[in-house]
């Protein structure tokens, strides 16, 4: 009897999915996608997550968690599961689930929707849940330590190196999105720049004026942010201040690199912590507002279900649906980076093992819902507008007339007047070729929010609100990520030079910080100066690396299941692992060996090298020097893809070896840390 209501939900989700999947030609309402996603997620949680918890992991409600047996009131605290859900969701949800789906919309709304729904249920949420479980049974240790513990020290070190490179790529690609959103936009630039002194004032407030009052200072900060958006318009229009806040992409790139270097060595209370309050609360608030806005507006989708770009050749990113869609949407479907979070603070806070499905599986479903909203956002815009905003300037030019012509020629009719009017509506000089996903989402959010509150006159305000919301937590991530990268690097260099491990001494810290900033700065600069806009090149590399880390985490989970003698359930992790390996290895392979210069770095490098040998300068390069730079960048990206392949394939080797050894063994090999039961009384 208790299954009746679940059956109804399942049927509702299924019929919505059928509507979404079979509509061709006529516009469908966004709510169909929302119902299909939410219904599927609820059923998946009720049946699949609990199945994994009961049968595969055999969660034991009587077994003390680290929060119980190591309770210290600080790091290890038994926490109410709803509170912990919020904590975990805030830690995993960032810019990734907002950007990937927007970029994926170039193939239409259908492929992205299906991949988000299927990917999260079968792969992403399973990964988060499994890693949380594994860490929870081992004192809440980190991913690198877990791999070392279960698969040996070499595998552990390889995983750590992989994680560091991914961190670098993530920081570069996030910073690139900020550059693309703020370049030539004095209003956006002013509001984001204003957050720095604002955060510092908040830091001073929490340090000396009213120490520790986070709620108070966050409200004051929020008022400051709103004022910055409101006055940003006058600043942008002022003949004196406007030009002072107008920067080219290259200038912004250097500003960000300088900012990253300085911000990550400032004391945390001054800038990072207060801005973290603002960005975290704004993020949660904006996501909730977006959900409510979509429900009230119930917008029809303008984007077709499928576009002609599913075979490749799209302007937003290169490559065909398989495998590139599956790496373009990483966060939201399956994100390897979550393995670092699920083995971070969360496992130390779980009060009971039976809370793990809600935290591990549930929070990831929530992130997938955010990704669905981003996809809906991109799909409610006119397709012509979407492609004018997301195509590189090298393809469509920079003025409304050329962009309208080029995009109309792609098969998505739009007038120059519409493009110019949209830019005026959102208070920008131009919205053409604003790649990176964030501006597109901001236009969509402005559309939705102004429908609910304020009307068309408020579009400009809401656009800059959305840009600020995205830029704010990206900058927080850049700052925090640089610090995290610094510690990872110190750990890694420490393997060779032990004195580097000392995290309190100043010199290793500064060297590691500079190396870290230099590394992501290099890729940022490469992306910014890339004639195709950078997102085109960097986002696939980011996607491959992130999915590769997911494959590593799922391989760890597989190895652990074998070592627990639960191998009859190993399909739960083997299936998503196999799919991710197929996608990342194919994508990585194509990025290296494909004959198409738009896809392969090697083919691209060859094309340019051959031309350079003949003394020719190929567009978009304008000089021999630029030719050489393009070739060099190609080789760097090529090497990176090769490194990813080596990392993932060598860990596959270690996983298979571990699993075979576990099958031969008669005893359970999994190294769970048994709590001393008497200490828990």
């Amino acid at each position: 009897m208790r299954h009746v209501s679940w059956t109804i939900i399942a049927l509702l989700a299924l019929s919505s999915l059928v509507v979404v999947a079979t509509s061709r030609g006529e516009q469908i309402n966004a709510l169909w996608i929302i119902i299909a996603a939410v219904g599927t997620f609820l059923v998946a949680y009720r049946y699949y997550a609990l199945y994994i918890g009961r049968k595969v992991m055999r969660l034991d409600p009587t077994r003390p968690t680290p929060a119980i047996y190591r309770a210290d009131g600080l790091d290890y605290v038994a926490t109410d599961r709803r509170v912990l859900f919020g904590h975990h969701f805030a830690a995993i949800a960032g810019a990734g689930p907002l950007v990937g789906p927007v970029l994926a919309a170039q193939m239409g709304y259908l492929p992205g929707t299906l991949w988000i729904i299927a990917g999260v249920v079968l792969a992403g949420a399973v990964q988060d849940f499994m890693v949380l479980f594994i860490s929870m049974r081992r004192d809440g240790r980190s991913l690198g330590e877990l791999v070392r513990l279960e698969m040996g020290p070499v595998a552990g070190t390889i995983a750590l190196i992989g994680a560091f490179i991914i961190m670098v790529i993530i920081l570069a690609v996030l910073a690139l999105i900020v550059v693309r959103a703020l370049a030539e936009s004095p209003w956006g630039m002013f509001t984001v720049a204003a957050t720095v002194p604002l955060a510092m004032a908040m830091g001073v407030y929490t340090r000396w004026i009213r120490p520790g009052r986070i709620g108070e200072v966050s409200i004051l900060g929020f008022i400051g942010l709103m004022l910055a958006i409101v006055y940003g318009q006058s600043i942008a229009e002022s003949p004196f201040w406007g030009p002072l806040f107008t920067f080219t992409p290259v200038q912004l790139c250097w500003i960000l690199i300088g900012y990253g270097a300085v911000a990550s060595i400032l004391p945390v209370w001054l800038l990072l912590a207060p801005r973290d309050y603002l960005s975290t609360f704004l993020k949660i608030g904006a996501i909730a507002a977006l959900a409510i806005g979509i429900l009230i507006m119930a917008p029809p989708l303008q984007m077709p279900a499928l576009t002609k770009f599913i075979d490749g050749g799209g302007p937003v990113w290169s490559g065909a649906l398989f495998p590139f869609l599956f790496i373009t949407i990483a966060c939201g479907s399956v994100s390897g980076f979550h393995a670092l979070i699920a083995s971070g603070t969360t496992p130390k806070l779980i009060a009971s093992e039976t809370d793990a499905p809600l935290i591990g599986y549930g929070a990831m479903l929530m992130e997938a819902f955010v990704a669905i909203m981003a996809l809906v956002g991109a799909s409610i815009l006119e397709p012509g507008l979407y492609f004018a905003m997301n195509s590189p300037a090298a393809l469509i030019g920079t003025d409304p007339a050329s962009a309208a012509n080029a995009v109309t020629a792609m098969g998505f009719p739009i007038s120059a007047e519409t493009l110019a009017q949209t830019a005026r509506d959102v208070g920008e000089a131009s919205i053409i070729s604003r790649t990176g996903g964030a501006p597109t989402l901001a236009v969509a959010m402005a559309e939705i929010f102004s429908h609910v509150a304020g009307g068309p006159a408020w579009k400009a305000f809401w656009y800059h609100f959305a840009i600020l919301f995205e830029a704010l937590f990206i900058l927080t991530a850049v700052d925090a990520g640089t610090r995290a990268g610094r510690f990872m690097l110190q750990d890694l260099i420490g393997l060779a030079i032990p004195s580097f491990r000392n995290t309190t001494s100043i010199t290793p810290g500064i060297i590691a910080t500079m190396l870290c900033v230099g590394a992501w700065g290099f890729f940022l600069y490469q992306g910014v100066t890339d004639p195709l806009g950078g997102v085109n090149t960097l986002w696939p590399v980011f996607g491959i690396s992130n999915q590769m880390l997911a494959a590593v985490a799922l391989m760890l989970a597989t190895a652990v299941l074998f070592r627990m003698k639960q191998d009859r359930y190993a399909w739960v992790t083997v299936l998503p692992t196999a799919w991710l390996l197929v996608c990342t290895v194919t994508a990585g392979g194509l990025k290296i060996f494909s004959a198409d210069p738009a896809v392969s770095f090697l083919a691209h490098a060859r094309l340019f090298s051959d031309a350079a040998d003949r003394g020719e300068v190929l567009a978009p390069a304008k000089s021999m020097e630029e030719m050489q730079r393009i070739i060099f960048n190609d080789w760097v990206d090529l090497t990176l893809c090769a490194v990813f392949l080596v990392v993932v394939l060598s860990l596959l080797f270690f996983t298979i070896r571990t699993c075979l050894a576990a099958r031969k063994s008669d005893v359970v090999l999994a190294r769970e840390i048994q709590p001393a039961r008497e200490a828990t009384a």
Partner: protein
């Protein structure tokens, strides 16, 4: 209603890395009655350092 607000407050604070001070005090009273617990402010600073001082966890 009051309980709900308290939970929301606790959630918001934990989102930015500040666990419950009351839970900490309770833990100290129960397990280490002889030791002087940190004041609310010391606790705040300690957690601030712990969140950002060692890398911290946050996603893309």
């Amino acid at each position: 209603m009051k309980a709900l607000l308290a939970k929301l407050r606790e959630t918001a604070l934990l989102m930015v890395g500040q666990p419950s001070y009351e839970a900490y005090l309770q833990h100290m009273r129960k397990h280490h009655p002889a030791r002087e617990p940190m004041t609310r402010l010391q606790f705040f600073r300690d957690r601030e350092r712990a969140r950002y001082g060692s890398g911290g966890g946050r996603c893309c």
